[in-house]
Amino acid sequence: MDGGKRTHAPHRREPTRAEAREELPSWGRTLLALALLGLLAGLAWAVLSLPRPAPGLADAVGARLAESGVSHPVTAVLLNFRGYDTLLELVVLLLALIGTWSVRRARRCAGNVPGPVLRQLPGLLAPLMVLIAGYLLWAGAHAPGGAFQAGSLLGGVGILLCLSGHSMPDWAQRWPLRLVALLGVAVFALSGVGVAALPSGGLLDWPPAAAKTLILGIELAAMLSIGVILAALFAGGRP
């Protein structure tokens, strides 16, 4: 089942007696729907009661933006003010990869036979996508963009290649793949702990002078990791 063969289209079958029995009866569904409508009403009332204008952190961020090393407020929050959240989020993504690998083996990309369109597409699109990913990474400092957006594009490159029947060489699927997958977390964590060892430093405390470089370096590693992890999640299992 998990070999290189393409699965045939699944044939429809009637639900078995057992499965039909498991569906909620219609009065149960109606009751549930009514209960949930009540819940919605309560939640809507809560939303309507919220104070206006909204208390928020836009001003607090704006006041300290200059020290953060980047000029886009969302990037500053993601990689400086609340960088620890981003670190943990990269760990979550890596964890999903490890979990997926522990569950099953991937289907081989080489088994995908591409049609005429898909044969040409990687050659045309892949270099363009990589270029745009690089631009998004750079632009993240002063405009919407950054590691996640760029990483998603790179993941898309990987998916495109897999769908067209190209797969990574076997040697690359051993420790190099693992290394790139954990690179984002590793660079982020090492930087965060390394900065703590400085005389006046603290954990994840980027000195304002070096912040821009540190953030760019972390985002670069993260972009590569995210791209690899997303493509590997698409492959759906360990190599």
Binding site: G42, L43, W45, A46, V47, L48, S49, L50, P51, A54, P55, G56, L57, A60, V61, R64, N80, F81, R82, G83, Y84, D85, L88, E89, V91, V92, L94, L95, A96, I98, G99, W101, S102, V103, W175, R178, L179, A181, L182, V185, A186, A189, G192, V193, A196, A197, L198, P199, S200, G201, G202, L203, L204, D205, W206
Partner: protein, 497 residues
């Protein structure tokens, strides 16, 4: 508040050591067991360092990145979080030693067990340290994914189904929690626990009630309080033994810890109605879980339902904690710590019995008492703590809660607690009794590694000794809590001023 790195920063270590170990274990699959054991040991040492630090200097506050709240994220290491981290470390080292022997012959499972387990430990420590509501959401998700992946590790259909259900429940609970955090952020403009506590009294009531309701509902789902317990027995029973130990002993405590944090630090005590509801559900959990445990035919299912029952006890502390009585929640916390040690020991014993007999039907435990005495001793000692007999940690916890119940005239809750102890005795002795009698068929036993037997026994012993260490543990539990919440030492058993 910048934290200079003079000497060693223990708070940093308890999170980054297991994280680094997990990365190394993932990178070097052939050496995972050794790397994993070393990391486990180092993490336990770091936790010990942090515990001593907090005992000596009081609660430790760290502003990550040097940014104070509300802009940045804060870490807070106080008595509550450190005692749970210490329990995690104790169980963690024992489970690591156990798992190294358990997975010795399963290369694939071993290769993935260690990174997943160390990431779970990282998630636990990160959760216990965090003082930021959104950061807690991320740690909750990290914890849930690691736990679900570990549950599926054996690859059996039951394990996969249990893991899928567990993952979906975990995500649902976290989403509900996140919805509450969103409402709180938009009512108060911050997600820092201390600042939210200050703002919440003045925030619009419908929003606060909806937010609290959503967060509590999500956390109740994750803690498997009746009637949200449906996912727990299939997941905990079908996971490999060391994973079951971690799930029952540690993971359910994390969401319970969060509920305590919300209740005391954010809400400053909570409402009477909610407290009574939680108490009633807890009482139902004790009865329902204990009865179902007694009725099980398979050992791991029995132990899993026992967890459902024990979780109920923790929640009975909520109605008993109104009106400034702090004895009940100290009792619940003690019970939680003791349960962590004892339940892990129980699951590890079950793992030994399954390794020995290749099955875990209780009726077929064919005189294992004579053939695996260490394992039976571990199970029995752990059972003593679960039943709440002196001098175990379980006894201390129950004693404190019963004292609070009688002081407040809550005979109904006290009756449930006592009856629950009787039921626990029933299901523990069901197993122990069967272990002394011959089964229907003769079973030739397989060898059980000594590491597996001794780690179970030592943990069970620790659960018993926990009761005797009350004078030492008491000050730790109360580091950082407000004076009004501290119980006068004179009324705690065995403590002399």
């Amino acid at each position: 508040m910048r934290l200079a790195l003079g000497g060693l920063d223990w708070t940093l270590a308890v999170v980054f050591v297991p994280l680094g170990g997990a990365l190394l274990c993932f990178l070097l699959p052939r050496r995972t067991a050794v790397l994993g054991l070393i990391t486990a040991w180092l993490t336990a040492m770091a936790t010990l360092g942090l515990t001593l630090d907090v005992l000596a200097k009081g609660a430790q506050r760290t502003a990550l990145g040097g940014w104070e709240a509300p802009l940045g994220i804060l870490w807070l290491a106080d008595g509550l979080s450190v005692s749970l981290m210490a329990m995690t470390a104790s169980v963690g080292v024992a489970v690591s030693v156990y798992a190294a022997a358990y997975f010795r012959d399963e290369h694939t499972e071993r290769a993935f067990f260690w990174p997943l387990w160390l990431l779970l430990w990282t998630a636990l420590n990160a959760l216990f340290l965090s003082a930021d509501l959104f950061n807690l959401y991320v740690t909750l998700e990290l914890l849930g994914f690691a736990a679900a992946s570990l549950t599926a590790l054996s690859g059996s259909t039951a394990a996969l189904a249990g893991a899928i259900r567990y993952l979906m429940v975990s995500v649902l609970g976290s989403l509900s929690y996140l919805l509450g955090v969103a409402l709180i952020y938009h009512a108060c403009g911050t997600v820092d626990i201390a600042l939210v506590a200050a703002c919440i009294g003045d925030a619009p009531r419908p929003a606060v009630q909806a937010a609290v309701g959503a967060m509590v509902a999500g956390l109740l789902l994750k803690t498997a309080l009746f009637p949200f317990h449906f996912w727990l027995p299939p997941a905990h029973a079908s996971a490999p033994a060391p994973v079951s130990a971690v799930l029952s002993a540690l993971v359910v405590k994390a969401s319970f810890y969060l509920l305590l944090r919300l209740w005391f630090d954010v809400l400053g005590g909570g409402g009477r109605g909610l407290a009574e509801l939680l108490g009633a559900l807890g009482a139902a959990a004790v009865i329902w879980g204990s009865v179902l445990a007694w009725r099980q035919e398979h050992l791991k299912q029995l132990i899993a339902y026992s967890t459902v029952a024990q979780v109920g006890y923790f929640f009975m502390a909520f109605p008993l904690s109104m009106a400034g009585h702090a004895g009940a929640w100290s009792g619940a916390l003690y019970l939680a710590l003791a349960h962590g040690l004892a339940k892990a020991a129980m699951f590890m014993s079950a793992g030994n019995l399954m390794r020995f007999g290749r099955q875990d039907r209780i009726a077929e435990l064919d005189r294992v008492a004579y053939r695996l005495p260490l394992t039976l001793a571990a199970f029995t000692l752990a059972g003593v703590s679960i039943m709440g007999l002196p001098p175990s940690g379980g006894f201390i916890g129950k004693w404190l809660m019963l004292q609070a119940a009688f002081q407040q005239g809550r005979v109904d809750l006290a009756a449930v607690m006592l009856f629950g102890g009787v039921l626990a005795a029933a299901y523990v002795f069901k197993v122990v009794g069967s272990a002394f009698t011959p089964g229907e068929h003769e079973h030739r036993g397989l060898a059980v590694p000594a590491a597996m037997e001794w780690s179970a026994l030592l943990l069970a012993g620790a659960a018993i000794l926990l009761g005797l260490t009350l004078p030492l543990l008491w000050p730790l539990l109360h580091v950082g809590t407000a004076p009004a919440a501290a119980l006068p030492l004179a009324t705690a058993p065995g403590v002399t001023s």
